[in-house]
C-alpha cells in the first residue's frame, strides 16, 4: 500500500512540475510571438545578439555588449558618426578646451527623460560622479580618475576640471559616458535602476529577461523625433548556428558577426559589411628573451608572413589591410611603408641576425573565437613561417586564459590580439608600445620617451607631427606584424534599412523598414 501511494505522489510531483513549466512557457510564448506576423513587421524588429548586458545601469560595465544594448535607452553627450567615426554632438551642443585641465560643455535644452524629468547640467554631473564614486564600483573609474570635479556653471553649462592634462577627454566622454536621471536613481536606488533603466534615449525599457531577451518600446517624445520602429527586441543568442537558423527562419531580422564562410549561405545582398575600427595584429615580443629581441628577426617575420594571402584565403577578403600601428579611421593616421611578402629576404635577414631559420623555434598564442577566424589565422601564419623553415608552436587558448597570459606576460614570442574600437592614436600607441603595457609586449626606451612627450601635447599640429613620426618609427622597428581592420559582417533582412557602424554599435533609432 505504502509503495503505491508513494508512486502516486511521485507521479503527481512530476506532473505538477511539468504543468508549472508549461505555464511559464505559454506566458512567454504569448509575449514572444508579437513582432513575427507580417502585419506588425513594419513596427517591430528582433535583433539577434551574441551576449547579454551585465546590467542596465549606465556607466558601470566596460563591455561592448552592455554598451550596445543600453545605448538605445541612454543618450551620450557626444557620439560618433556611424561611417566616419567623427565626433557628433548629441546632448552636448558644443564643447571647448579652456585650458589643459578644464573642459567646457554647453548642453542641449528642452530634452526630457522617459519619466518626464528634465535633462540639465545636474544630470551630467550626477552621471560622471557615479563613475567617480568608489562605492559604486564602476569599472569605468580607472579611465576617469584624473577628473577632479564636475562644476555646474548654469542649468545648461558644465565644466570638467582634471588634476592632470587630459587631452583625450572628448574621446572618454564619447566612448564611456551615458546620461542617467539623478532623481530616478536616487528615488528607486541603484538596484532597481540597474534593472529598470530611465534615460533620454529613443527607446524606453519594457522587459529584460537575462540571457533571453531585452524588449524596448519607442519613446514617442524623443527629442530627435519619433523612432520609426516601435518595438525592438534584442534576443540573446550566443551560438552562431542558432543565430543563423533564427535569421533564416525569419525569427530574427538582424544579427552581427557572421563567420566569413557563411556569407554565401545568407546571400550577399543580405549581408552588410563595414571595416571596424578594431584592428587585429600579431605581436612580436621583445620583452621575452629570444630571437625577437633582434630587429632583423622581427623584420624577417614581417616579410615571411603573407598577410594578403591570409586575408584572401582565410577571411575571404573581409577585412582591410593595415600596414602600421593604426587604421585609417584614426585621427592623425599616416600611411606607412609595408613590409612586402618576400620569403628570400626574410631568410637573408635571419641569417644577418646570426641565425638560420631552422634554428628558430617560436611560440604563437592565439585566442579562439574572439576575433574573426583567429585560431585559423594563427595556424595559417604558422604554416607560412614553417615554409621558410621556422618552427612554430601554436597554442590555442580559451579567451580568459589568453588575456590573462598576455597581461601577465606569460605568452611567449608571438601572440594574436585585437585592439579597438580605436579612433585616436594616444590610447592605442600608449597602451601597446610602452614598457608597462602588455598588449604588444614590445618596448623601446627611446620610443617610449617620444610617446609620452607626444601624448602630453595639446597643439594639434605638434600632435600630428609627433604621432606621424611615431607611426613611422614603430614600423621601422618592426614592432609587430600589422594584419587588418576586422570587417564587421551583419546579416540584414532584405527589407530592412540598416547601415553598419564603424564603432560596432546597433542603434535601433537609425534602423527602419522599407
Amino acid at each position: 500500500m505504502l509503495k503505491k501511494s508513494l508512486l502516486a505522489v511521485l507521479m503527481l510531483l512530476f506532473l505538477a512540475a511539468c504543468t508549472e513549466g508549461t505555464d511559464v512557457e505559454s506566458q512567454n510564448g504569448g509575449a514572444d510571438e508579437s513582432g513575427n506576423t507580417d502585419g506588425e513587421q513594419q513596427e517591430s524588429i528582433v535583433i539577434g545578439f551574441e551576449g547579454d548586458a551585465a546590467t542596465m545601469m549606465a556607466n558601470h560595465d566596460v563591455n561592448y555588449t552592455t554598451d550596445t544594448l543600453i545605448r538605445n535607452i541612454y543618450d551620450p553627450l557626444i557620439d560618433r558618426d556611424g561611417q566616419t567615426g567623427e565626433f557628433v554632438p548629441v546632448l552636448a551642443e558644443e564643447w571647448e578646451n579652456i585650458d589643459e585641465t578644464t573642459w567646457y560643455f554647453k548642453l542641449k535644452e528642452g530634452v526630457e527623460f522617459h519619466n518626464g524629468a528634465e535633462f540639465n547640467a545636474e544630470s551630467v554631473k550626477y552621471s560622471i560622479d557615479y563613475i567617480l564614486d568608489e562605492s559604486n564600483g564602476s569599472y569605468y573609474r580607472s579611465r576617469w580618475v584624473d577628473v577632479e570635479e564636475v562644476v555646474v556653471v548654469s542649468d545648461y553649462e558644465v565644466e570638467i576640471h582634471t588634476s592632470r592634462p587630459f587631452p583625450s577627454m572628448i574621446e572618454r566622454i564619447t566612448e564611456d559616458l551615458l546620461i542617467m536621471e539623478p532623481g530616478y536613481v536616487e528615488e528607486v536606488g541603484v538596484d532597481t535602476a540597474s534593472n529598470e533603466p530611465i534615460g533620454t534615449g529613443p527607446y524606453t525599457f519594457v522587459e529584460w529577461s537575462r540571457d533571453n531577451h531585452l524588449k524596448l518600446e519607442a519613446f514617442d517624445d524623443y527629442w530627435q523625433g519619433e523612432p520609426s520602429i516601435k518595438n525592438a527586441e534584442f534576443r540573446i543568442i550566443p551560438e552562431f548556428s542558432a543565430r543563423m537558423s533564427a535569421f533564416m527562419g525569419g525569427e530574427v531580422h538582424l544579427f552581427k558577426n557572421i563567420p566569413v564562410d557563411s556569407v554565401e549561405e545568407i546571400g550577399e545582398d543580405r549581408v552588410g559589411e563595414v571595416p571596424s575600427s578594431r584592428i587585429n595584429y600579431l605581436a612580436l615580443s621583445n620583452l621575452v628573451d629570444g630571437p625577437l629581441e633582434d630587429v632583423n628577426v622581427r623584420k624577417a617575420i614581417n616579410h615571411a608572413i603573407n598577410a594578403d594571402e591570409l586575408l584572401e584565403a582565410v577571411l575571404n577578403d573581409y577585412g582591410t589591410r593595415i600596414t602600421g600601428p593604426l587604421s585609417e579611421l584614426n585621427s592623425n593616421y599616416v600611411e606607412t611603408e609595408d613590409y612586402a611578402y618576400d620569403p628570400d629576404l626574410a631568410v637573408e635577414l635571419i641569417e644577418e641576425a646570426g641565425y638560420t631559420p631552422e634554428d628558430l623555434t617560436l611560440t604563437l598564442d592565439t585566442p579562439s573565437g574572439r576575433y574573426p577566424m583567429d585560431s585559423h589565422i594563427a595556424q595559417a601564419i604558422a604554416s607560412q613561417l614553417q615554409s621558410i623553415g621556422i618552427n612554430v608552436e601554436v597554442q590555442v587558448n580559451e579567451w580568459g586564459n589568453h588575456l590573462e597570459g598576455v597581461q601577465n606576460r606569460e605568452t611567449g614570442d608571438m601572440f594574436i590580439l585585437g585592439w579597438g574600437p580605436a579612433f585616436e592614436p594616444q590610447s592605442t600607441i600608449e597602451n601597446l608600445f610602452t614598457e608597462d603595457a602588455p598588449y604588444s609586449s614590445f618596448y623601446d626606451e627611446e620610443l617610449e620617451e617620444k610617446i609620452f612627450e607626444t601624448n602630453a601635447l595639446f597643439d594639434e599640429d605638434a600632435r600630428f607631427e609627433g604621432y606621424a613620426e611615431l607611426q613611422h618609427d614603430l614600423v621601422e622597428q618592426a614592432a609587430w606584424v600589422p594584419l587588418w581592420q576586422q570587417a564587421d559582417l551583419y546579416a540584414i533582412n532584405e527589407s530592412l534599412n540598416f547601415s553598419p557602424r564603424v564603432d560596432e554599435k546597433i542603434n535601433v533609432f537609425e534602423i527602419s523598414w522599407e
Binding site: 505504502l2 511539468c18 566596460v62 580607472s142 540597474s194 533571453n212 550566443p238 537558423s245 527562419g249 580568459g400
Partner: protein, 305 residues
C-alpha cells in the same frame, strides 16, 4: 525511518558544505579575474585598487571565512561583472532549466517505457533487436552533436522549428529531444531488463502456465512490479539531466542555469559559479535523498521475498 531521514539530512548539509569548500579553493587558485572586467587600458595602480575593493588581495583563509559566513546566510556576494546578487541571478534561471529537464524527463518516459515494455514482451524479435540496437547507439551520441545536427536539419534546412531561445512549445522541441536522447536510451534498456527480470519470476510463470492471457498479464504484474526500480532510476537520472542541460542550453541558447554557469566560467565571474554550485549540489543531494528513501521502502519487501 525518521532516524534514517535525519541522518541523511545531516549528510546533505555536509555534502553541500564540502562541495562549496572545494570549488571555492579550486577557483581561487586560478588567479584573480580583476583585469577581465576593467578596460584594457586600465593603469596598474588602478588594477591594484580594484583588486583591493573586490577583496582578492586578502589572505585566502580570510576570504574563505568571510565567504562561508555569508554563504550560510544565503549571501554569495555580488556578480563581479554586474554587481547584482549572485544567488538571485542563479535562482532566476532555475525555472528555465527545470522546464527543460522535466520536459526531457517526461518525453523520455513516454517514449522509453512503452518501447522497453514492448521489447521485453517481444523478446528476441526483430522489434526487440532494433529497439535495443538504437538505444545502444543513442548512448554513444554526444548530445551537443545531436543538437547541432537537429538544428541543421529542422531549423536550417526544413526551417520549421526554431533553434533558440525560450518561449513557445515549438522552441522547446529541439532542445528537449537533444537532452532526452541519452535518457531515452538508458530507460529503454533498463525498462526492458527490469521487465524481463519480473517476467522470469516464478509467480508469472505460474499464472502463464495457468493460462492467463499474455498481454493483460504483462500489464498487470510485470509493469507494476518493475516500476519501482524504474522510478528510482528516473529520480537519479534527473540529476544527470540537469548536468546534461549545461551543454544543451549552450547549443540552443536556452536561458537556464547551465548557460549562466558556462558564461560565468568564461568570464571568471566566481560568485555566480559558487552560487550555481550551491544550488546544483542541493538539488543533487535532495534527489539522491529521495532516491535513498525509495530504496529504503523497497528493500524490506525484497528481503521478504
Amino acid at each position: 525511518m525518521l532516524d534514517f531521514i535525519v541522518k541523511r539530512f545531516i549528510q546533505v548539509i555536509i555534502v553541500v558544505f564540502l562541495a562549496l569548500t572545494v570549488v571555492f579553493f579550486l577557483i581561487r587558485l586560478s588567479g584573480d579575474p580583476t583585469t577581465l572586467f576593467l578596460p584594457p587600458d586600465a593603469p596598474r595602480e588602478q588594477i591594484e585598487e580594484y583588486r583591493e575593493q573586490l577583496g582578492f588581495n586578502r589572505p585566502l583563509y580570510a576570504q574563505y571565512g568571510d565567504f562561508m559566513i555569508d554563504a550560510v546566510q544565503g549571501d554569495f556576494g555580488e556578480s563581479l561583472r554586474s554587481g547584482e546578487d549572485a544567488l538571485g541571478l542563479v535562482l532566476q534561471r532555475m525555472p528555465a532549466t527545470f522546464q527543460l529537464a522535466f520536459a526531457a524527463l517526461i518525453v523520455s518516459l513516454l517514449i522509453a517505457i512503452p518501447l522497453g515494455v514492448l521489447s521485453a514482451y517481444k523478446r528476441n524479435t526483430l522489434f526487440d533487436r532494433i529497439g535495443v540496437g538504437l538505444s545502444v547507439v543513442g548512448q554513444a551520441i554526444p548530445n551537443f552533436w545531436f543538437g547541432l545536427i537537429l538544428i541543421f536539419i529542422f531549423a536550417a534546412q526544413l526551417q520549421f522549428l526554431p533553434s533558440s531561445g525560450g518561449g513557445s512549445i515549438s522552441h522547446m522541441i529541439l532542445p528537449v529531444f537533444t537532452l532526452a536522447l541519452y535518457s531515452i536510451s538508458r530507460f529503454v534498456r533498463f525498462t526492458r531488463s527490469a521487465m524481463l527480470d519480473v517476467l522470469n519470476k516464478d509467480y508469472i510463470r505460474t499464472s502463464k502456465a495457468a493460462g492467463a492471457p499474455t498481454s493483460s498479464l504483462v500489464m498487470k504484474y510485470a509493469l507494476r512490479n518493475s516500476l519501482i526500480p524504474i522510478i528510482t532510476l528516473v529520480a537519479l537520472d534527473l540529476g544527470v539531466l540537469l548536468g546534461g542541460a549545461v551543454v544543451t542550453e549552450v547549443v540552443f541558447s536556452w536561458p537556464g542555469v547551465g548557460r549562466l554557469l558556462h558564461q560565468s566560467l568564461l568570464n571568471r565571474d566566481f560568485p555566480i559559479v559558487l552560487a550555481g554550485v550551491f544550488i546544483i549540489a542541493i538539488i543533487y543531494a535532495v534527489i539522491n535523498f529521495i532516491a535513498d528513501i525509495l530504496y529504503a521502502y523497497v528493500n524490506p519487501q525484497i528481503r521478504v521475498k
